[in-house]
Symmetry: D3
Amino acid sequence: MRPSGRAPEQPRDVRITRQYTKHAEGSVLIEFGDTKVICTASVENKVPPFLRGAGQGWITAEYGMLPRSTGSRMGREAARGKQGGRTVEIQRLIGRSLRAAVDLKKLGENSITIDCDVIQADGGTRTAAITGGCVALVDALNSMVAKGTLKASPLKQMVAALSVGIYEGAAVADLDYPEDSSAETDMNVIMTDRGGFIELQGTAEGEPFEQSELDSMLNLAKQGINQLFEIQKKALEEG
Amino acid sequence: MRPSGRAPEQPRDVRITRQYTKHAEGSVLIEFGDTKVICTASVENKVPPFLRGAGQGWITAEYGMLPRSTGSRMGREAARGKQGGRTVEIQRLIGRSLRAAVDLKKLGENSITIDCDVIQADGGTRTAAITGGCVALVDALNSMVAKGTLKASPLKQMVAALSVGIYEGAAVADLDYPEDSSAETDMNVIMTDRGGFIELQGTAEGEPFEQSELDSMLNLAKQGINQLFEIQKKALEEG
Amino acid sequence: MRPSGRAPEQPRDVRITRQYTKHAEGSVLIEFGDTKVICTASVENKVPPFLRGAGQGWITAEYGMLPRSTGSRMGREAARGKQGGRTVEIQRLIGRSLRAAVDLKKLGENSITIDCDVIQADGGTRTAAITGGCVALVDALNSMVAKGTLKASPLKQMVAALSVGIYEGAAVADLDYPEDSSAETDMNVIMTDRGGFIELQGTAEGEPFEQSELDSMLNLAKQGINQLFEIQKKALEEG
Amino acid sequence: MRPSGRAPEQPRDVRITRQYTKHAEGSVLIEFGDTKVICTASVENKVPPFLRGAGQGWITAEYGMLPRSTGSRMGREAARGKQGGRTVEIQRLIGRSLRAAVDLKKLGENSITIDCDVIQADGGTRTAAITGGCVALVDALNSMVAKGTLKASPLKQMVAALSVGIYEGAAVADLDYPEDSSAETDMNVIMTDRGGFIELQGTAEGEPFEQSELDSMLNLAKQGINQLFEIQKKALEEG
Amino acid sequence: MRPSGRAPEQPRDVRITRQYTKHAEGSVLIEFGDTKVICTASVENKVPPFLRGAGQGWITAEYGMLPRSTGSRMGREAARGKQGGRTVEIQRLIGRSLRAAVDLKKLGENSITIDCDVIQADGGTRTAAITGGCVALVDALNSMVAKGTLKASPLKQMVAALSVGIYEGAAVADLDYPEDSSAETDMNVIMTDRGGFIELQGTAEGEPFEQSELDSMLNLAKQGINQLFEIQKKALEEG
Amino acid sequence: MRPSGRAPEQPRDVRITRQYTKHAEGSVLIEFGDTKVICTASVENKVPPFLRGAGQGWITAEYGMLPRSTGSRMGREAARGKQGGRTVEIQRLIGRSLRAAVDLKKLGENSITIDCDVIQADGGTRTAAITGGCVALVDALNSMVAKGTLKASPLKQMVAALSVGIYEGAAVADLDYPEDSSAETDMNVIMTDRGGFIELQGTAEGEPFEQSELDSMLNLAKQGINQLFEIQKKALEEG
């Protein structure tokens, strides 16, 4: 029995609000239940030094949590003078995942930064960030087409992410904080809407997990991520 | 004529949403027009080293802007490894202002951190942060009473803040970004609901300002801040 | 009664020593009583990145205190790896104030850095720094004319600063450390020799201050700053 | 055809040298072909702050590369003043993986730090570090028993790691640098000698990977990791 | 022929001003010609962590240069966020040298920090700092006796320092900046007033130096340092 | 009697292994007894900013210790975010010493970085680093000639280094850790194979040292360093 009363395969309610703030080329508030993340996509007409002259673009991500997005206040990373290891790990994952959505050669010598800022955390912030960040990215790409910066959107495919895990011996989808903090295994699955995997990150927090558990988790992930693609699609059709 | 069409003495619409996020003891979204700041108040049962054993509490503030809260993306301070001078200046101002609201001796050996995070910027973020932060602070103090940590709220008085300035030769209240970026003088006024000044910070960006201009600005400030006290009061009476 | 026995409107003895060190284009030791600050003005033939190609110059300031300029030793900021919030706040104030003295367009693409290093502190270091820094700035501008870098000095007006406050219920001018550490209100006033305000920063450390107290403080400030302009003038006429 | 001429399922030659340096409680040089990593295990009789009084021990890892362990020199992280994102990601992975080998409650209030320093890199440094680090950890645990700090070794199981990937369309085991830099998918698999997974990290660098490719990679991983357990076992039986 | 016209063995005029600033337990302005360094000695009733409970005291030094103490402005180390290598090297040398003057066991569990801040640089700042720092240290030790913190001064011997070098083929004493910047060899010699060496640091900037040149330099050093001991002694007898 | 049983003038066994790692232009493992340092020389076709356009090359050094190269684990400098003072001091010494081996004008606009990483420490790491670094440097210069980057090697002379000291009242050569930690005086001597001194750094850790002790130490140093030149020469003749 899950703390939230959800069925094992049931993700939380997912809500996507586009144009959430007014300055960014793409701006999305994504909610996975009580987890709330602001994802903005910012376009700049330049590329990082290692790509200068390479005739392609770049997509990168940064991640942060408001100090009191969590149950007890965390020190502000800007005040401590460095980003923690978990932050670095997550923002690299978001960046790699979203680069898979776009044909970087067709992006031209432009960069898009996806900022994912958690305003309320209840488990699954990185999967919410990827899923919402992809919608912000699509909006930003479309704004580049609208402004004439690009002739066509270089979007190759949609990308979405879900956490799955082994909780009290059973595979479950979209762990919230009470599950996440006591799950035996936690796995983040990032897929494309064509059915391929972009990234798999599974960690046994307690006991190692077996092949059969891996299979169960991946099945739940595929099922749940397909629902996310539907929600992304609906959000993009509105407005 | 102001870019927004407002009368010189007219502040923007101010909205205060309490219980904006679920974890903090006080959590407020404050909007001064398009300026939106999340203010959370977090209680901790300890004091900073310089107050250990002094038998009193402490209130401090931290300020941040989401990287794309502004027209063009700013580098993330956590990634750059330090808070900028403007951030430091603002968070010290917020902390000083809100400490004036509370009898720190009656707070016991507890600390309250007010985190002010700008999710959308359009001028006046520091005055919005102080005005919203005071409401979050009241909620946090009341939660301490409700939990039995304190017998009575140590609130002495409400605090609110408004920017005033000289724009195209005339005194105006609550400058938005287009005004702020071309005003001759910009002044932040922080007052208590008993009518005293907590802090005055006036800066001539272009020409020096005269005593008569100072007097006009202070008159607008008093008038506008009284409206803010009404809005704070209404927000606190709800819910 | 003031601890120093001074009358309420009486500033401390102010001494200005020009050519205090030999390398800088402008080098001043300014003393406000026991407060001693070395102010140097250094000219560089370049501008910061945000002004490149803008056809104007820039003036900036840095502030520091020798570790034992104070009653108990403070940690050295260079050793701690960052400037504290108070330092940042003060150096931004000095920079803004001194930029008001100069027509930056007539400065050409040159920068002047005003370094204000406190060798002995007894209250009022920031007002001493601004008052002495302005003299060092004038010397540096004149040296640029002498070297042929500029045809005429771009000085628009002199700038000087004084602290005023409410000490034991009365307005007083030029607070020394014993007053500063127990004053109810502390206000720094920066003016031009044409009578306008450049910056006002008033903070109620204890009780809020009223309009009438503000008026008294500003009167003392105007009076005292006029004396500072006389002292600057005399110092510049010598040598 | 693999650049090295190896069969798809064939790992590189793996060599483990124990007692490689003289000071550490466990010290191992592990070589996966031309990849060479020094793994030391250092015991300290204390735990990190978050575990004080929890009656358990802790295992953590740090990772570094000598600046010229790679084809072109990388800046030294100590000189740049921060560890890069990749470093942080890898050392967190090593730490999580090796904690799974030990019953932390039976470790007492002791910490073991596994330092993994790459002296020559040719792909697969993180899997070599985990595999060699586990041997250094066993030696450190045994030294604690020998010294009487612990009554019995709290080792639960051996842990080893191998990279697998999709290279030119086929699944291959233990990618070296030429393969790693052009593989479509790269997956790090960490397992226990009882057959469970500790961690899976698969990343599609180019095209997404399919379930069938995942299955092939996992099969190669299991096979290769079993060989690593044999090599660890032999090394531990010697000397 | 030396640029200053001095004879090879002739140091610059050395002046020592005690009680230069009012807060420190020892405060000295030392001048070696145009090189001017403020040396303060600050007493604290505690020792660094590595000496806790060791029943002895500690002496350490910090060194800094005002940004415009030199011909062209150097960046402020506090603003850059780190002390440069030269600074670190020099302050470690000063600390080691001055620890040799004192019986640390008789100092009790007290620390003395010698801050050496260069306000004008013209070569030889580190030797001036050691020579002046020793006088400030004596004053601080005597103040501890006067206050009853110590029963007797733990001073063992005086320490002084002089630079010598090979300039245009000849050994010279107390190099000023024009000599220092083109000398073939530069050597800093730190001695006690009993005639022993505390530290020797000789560096061939251009050609290696021979034993005979070393001998000549050491002879000049001994001679010049004896003069410094006289000057220290006179300064300490005054006031 | 020395702890190792060596005669006073007897250095430890010195072993030099060239081509120790495969990527660097010069790569040496040098062992002074149990002290083991990897020295790599990395060539880059650029010069630091202060030499741009000066028509010469540059040689610099960086030094590090693996965290458990020592008896108890030291914190990793990359994790602490800064290099310690001792590290900075040593790497500056190595750089200065090795620059003396080369005619920088004949090096062209190329830089060589000597990385000296201690994998096992037992005293004398800096002298081992200089002696081994010089061999790595020669290999790197020869590789530049072999690749046609340079027409002839700009090597002027070999450089080697040895520590000498006063241990229990007698001068000894090549102090190991037990001697180093209780020696009265420790001196590092760096010489060229033409017999001149490059650098002398002698420190009295306890009692000051006398001229006669200095003479004894320098005699041992010359004798021992001549043996090091033989060992360097043999190593370079092999392979």
